[in-house]
């Protein structure tokens, strides 16, 4: 049985040689397997780390610190002539009321600098809060009410524990004195953390405690709606033509190669296109959902076309033959028979494309979505920003309070993306068909 007569060596069965080296080979096998497993675990732990980091940073943004103060709605300040005229009430100096309340609460503070520190404990948005209360109920005038006032972001951070009270004073944004006041209020139960509705109802702001994602969400919503309106019909139409009707020639080959390449073009290049063509040449207004949607449509089209073609491919030819056989025109065959069967696949591709569009940032920076826009956009041509760009802008802000708001905005964005992808997966599962 031996065929390897090595010179000088006694004949040996091959299996013995094999068995001799087996241990070493298995050690290598285990090592290789271990490396593979570690790669998977490492990859999975990155997922875990990313999400844990975002959640750890962002969860506290869903609550907001409020300070309870007895506010005297001084008639002399609010309504000097007693007319209860809403215009007068709207313009009154509400900040005065808050300052008075603070001074009453901490009568020992007289020094100018200290007074300023004291005033800065309450958010600059609090006067508006009071105004809205008075306008809703003018009977408050002249009374003294315990009001929960929005705290400034530094105080918010201190209460949430993001500012370490153990640090030396000069390394802290909130000084010892203010910490003392906060501790006093805390002891009296006058500091509370409540659900942060502002985060979901406000547009952005320079003040972290007043900044919200509503504007960006609406901007994303308008942009996505338009993108869907443009991209879905065009994508499906192009897919039908290329897959079902196009003759096989150079032109269609070129289109095909083109689509595959476009899918891999860096997104920022689409931004350059939007800037140079849509804004400069066609005069589409900057910073609007319209121009964003045009750019995102071109960006997501390849995804939708490729997915739609795959869906069309999976419809067996027998169905087409059957329809053509009973006298349907080619277009009727498509619309009545092929499209309904391919639709789940097309929708899945579209949802994935829309998820891409929702998360896209870079090209939108080029076309002015980066502008600081406080108002919540009201239409397709009103200036707006979108959620990912808002995240980018906030991430750049130095305030500690913006870190948690950025993370929270990311959580909202991810929640939408997960929802969309889950829908796509379920859709695929539900309609997956084997022919």
């Amino acid at each position: 049985m031996n065929k390897t007569p090595a010179a000088g060596a006694p004949p040996k069965r091959a299996i013995d040689i094999v068995n001799a080296s087996l241990k070493r080979r298995y050690a290598r096998e285990r090592r290789f397997r271990f490396i593979g497993l570690s790669a998977v675990i490492l990859g999975l732990s990155f997922v875990g780390l990313l999400f844990a980091d975002i959640i750890a940073k962002g969860h506290s943004a869903f609550v907001q610190t409020y300070i309870q103060l007895p506010v005297h709605f001084e008639a002399a300040v609010l309504d000097p002539d007693g007319s209860r005229n809403p215009e007068v009430l709207a313009r009154a100096n509400y900040q005065q009321l808050i300052r008075d309340a603070l001074r009453t609460e901490f009568p020992g503070v007289t020094d100018r600098r200290e007074t300023r520190t004291l005033y800065s404990m309450i958010s600059v948005g609090a006067p508006t809060q009071l105004r809205d209360r008075v306008l809703a109920n003018p009977d408050l005038i002249g009374t003294t009410q315990d009001v929960w006032l929005l705290a400034d972001d530094d105080i918010d951070m201190l209460v949430k524990g993001h500012i370490d009270r153990g640090l030396p004073e000069n390394q802290r944004r909130v000084k010892d004195q203010a910490v003392g006041w906060v501790e006093q209020l805390e002891a009296q139960g006058r500091i509370a953390k409540r659900f942060n509705t502002i985060f979901f109802t406000n547009g952005t702001s320079r003040e972290p405690e007043l900044a919200g994602i509503a504007g960006a969400l609406m901007g994303s919503f308008y942009t996505l709606i338009l993108t869907l309106l443009f991209a879905f019909p065009i994508g499906v139409g192009a897919a039908i033509y290329l897959e079902e009707f196009a003759p096989k020639n150079r032109w269609t080959d070129l289109i095909e190669v083109n689509i595959n390449n476009l899918a891999a073009v860096p997104s920022i290049v689409f931004g350059l296109l939007g800037l140079a063509v849509f804004i400069s040449v066609f005069g589409v207004p900057r910073s609007t959902p319209l121009v964003a949607a045009l750019v995102l449509t071109l960006m997501t089209l390849p995804t939708i076309i490729i997915a739609s073609r795959a869906a069309l491919k999976s419809v067996p030819p027998s169905i087409r033959e059957a329809a053509l056989g009973v006298g349907a025109s080619p277009l009727q065959t498509q619309i009545h028979h092929v499209l309904p069967l391919a639709m789940p696949g097309m929708l899945t591709g579209t949802i994935i494309g829309m998820a891409q569009a929702l998360g896209e940032t870079a090209p939108l920076l080029m076309i002015g979505m980066i502008a600081f826009i406080v108002e919540i956009p009201s239409g397709f041509t009103s200036p707006s920003t979108v959620l990912p760009v808002q995240i980018f802008l906030w991430a750049d802000s130095p305030e500690r309070a913006f870190v948690e708001r950025t993370s929270a905005a990311i959580m909202v964005l991810l929640a939408f993306l997960i929802l969309m992808n889950l829908t796509a997966v379920l859709l695929r599962r539900r309609f997956e068909r084997r022919w």
Binding site: E29, G36, F46, K57, G237, L262, L273
Partner: protein, 463 residues
């Protein structure tokens, strides 16, 4: 009098035309009982009428909306006293027009309005109003005219279905050409601006210069007053960040693809694969945030504790996070090509007494190598074009360095910075962004074409 209201009106005309066209077809045929004498189903006559009512009107509307403003501006400008436009550069003239428009719409104006400007603004408003009315009239007339035309043409012998279908087919052809138009648009827009850039800055300086300082100085005596556009530090920065990313992504991605497709029990694979692919669905801005606020400080601390001087915006942090982002990309592409290796190869190897890892390392990987290389090239192209991570986590300073702990800048970062700051449109600074865009586009396109070609050849080999 909003344009969208007009759009709705046209849509209403279209549905009316559909209804009328259908009715007309049935009545010309001689009633419901005789519709079999029609060439096509009544529906197609309806669609035929609707298309006639809608398409020309919509086309007119689009053209009108596109050109109305240019015409109005030209009109207003021609009526301005000649003294106001004398000696104005095109930029200043367009600024003036802008102010007139702002004045007209009641927005904030950058200068105190003169009576002439006020007059022009009033005229602009007047013309505008007139133009809007004219558009409404013209569009509605065209829609009604189209409807009437279709009504006249409707008779049993007319081949409505064929006509409608050929229109639809034409629309499909247009849709499928959009991909080509997009590419053309990209090429033209970056090429045009780049040409202008290269008229001011020599390509030699751009591609081989080592000093990048695009800030045009405010004072003449500032350093780099004219701006320096040597892009080499950008290229090396891009390459370094991409290389770090690939260093992370390729081994992890490839090994997890191998483990998941060859070793993992089905259950593990069923949840590990989609979980890993979550990484591909996370928006890049999230990675940027993660890189800038978590990874970069961590690396900095780590480096400091080892006595290394790490920049707070190190290439390493950006590259690492970019690598994480690319892992699922590499792993799913690799898995595809590994699965495409025929089972017969594995059988042949096992039948010779090979262990699983020997089969993978010595047969499957070599067999899948072209496909894997193609996938990696695609990943490289993605790394080079990735923007948000580097914008947020890499620096702005164009350092020519090989030290990954230092801060570098990349092509994409510079494009964003050049185009998002306060900008005057025709400056060399903004045009430089397009030249960088052109470079980026050409490089990624080349990589993609090569990669897709390799992958396709590879697929064909085993089909």
């Amino acid at each position: 009098m909003h344009t969208s209201t007009l759009l709705i009106l046209v849509l209403a005309f279209m549905s009316l035309a559909y209804y009328v066209g259908r009715k007309r077809a049935i009545s010309t045929a001689g009633g419901v009982t005789r519709i079999n004498t029609l060439h096509s189903l009544p529906v197609y006559y309806g669609l035929y009428a609707a298309l006639w009512a809608g398409l020309p009107a919509l086309l007119l509307m689009g053209l009108w909306a596109g050109f109305q403003d240019d015409i109005l501006v030209a009109l207003v400008k021609s009526e301005l006293p000649a003294t106001m436009l004398d000696g104005l550069s095109p930029g200043a003239a367009s600024l003036l027009v802008n102010d007139i428009k702002n004045l007209a719409s009641g927005a904030i104006v950058s200068r105190t309005p003169t009576p002439e400007m006020q007059l022009a603004a009033d005229r602009y408003n007047l013309y505008n109003q007139f133009a809007v009315w004219a558009m409404w009239l013209a569009v509605s007339a065209l829609a009604l005219g189209g409807m009437a035309f279709a009504w006249l043409r409707t008779q049993p012998k007319m081949r409505a279905r064929n006509r409608v279908e050929s229109i639809f087919m034409a629309i499909l052809v247009i849709f499928s050409s959009i991909a080509i138009l997009t590419t053309l648009g990209i090429v033209l827009s970056v090429l045009f601006e780049s040409m202008r850039f290269f008229q001011e800055v020599s390509p030699l300086e751009f591609f081989f210069g080592t000093l990048w300082s695009p800030q045009t100085a405010l004072r003449a005596d500032q350093i780099g007053a004219s701006g320096a556009f040597g892009a080499v530090p950008l290229f090396t920065g891009t390459l370094m960040v991409s290389a770090i990313a690939m260093f992370v992504a390729v081994p992890i991605g490839l090994m997890s693809a191998i483990y998941l497709s060859e070793y993992a029990p089905r259950k593990v694979r069923a949840w590990a694969k989609p979980t890993l692919e979550v990484l591909a669905g996370v928006p890049t801005v999230v990675y940027g945030f993660f890189a800038a606020l978590t990874v970069a400080p961590f690396i900095r601390e780590l480096g400091m504790s080892m006595g290394l001087n790490v920049a707070s915006e190190s290439a390493l942090a950006a590259g690492l996070v970019m690598g994480i982002m690319i892992i699922p990309f590499v792993s799913s592409l690799s898995e595809d090509v590994i699965n495409a290796v025929p089972q017969a190869m594995r059988d042949g190897s096992y039948a010779l007494g090979a262990t699983q890892s020997e089969t993978i390392r010595r047969v499957i990987i070599p067999a899948a190598l072209p496909g894997i290389v193609g996938g990696i090239l695609l990943a490289v192209s993605r790394a080079i074009g990735e923007t948000m991570i580097v914008v947020m986590a890499a620096g702005l300073a164009a350092n020519l360095t090989a030290n990954p702990l230092e801060s570098v800048t990349t092509v994409t970062v510079q494009i964003v910075t050049l185009l998002t700051g306060d900008q005057e449109f025709d400056s060399a600074k903004t045009m430089a962004a397009f030249a960088l865009g052109l470079t980026l586009f050409v490089v990624t396109l080349t990589l993609n074409v090569i990669a897709l070609h390799i992958v396709r050849k590879y697929r064909e080999q085993y089909e």
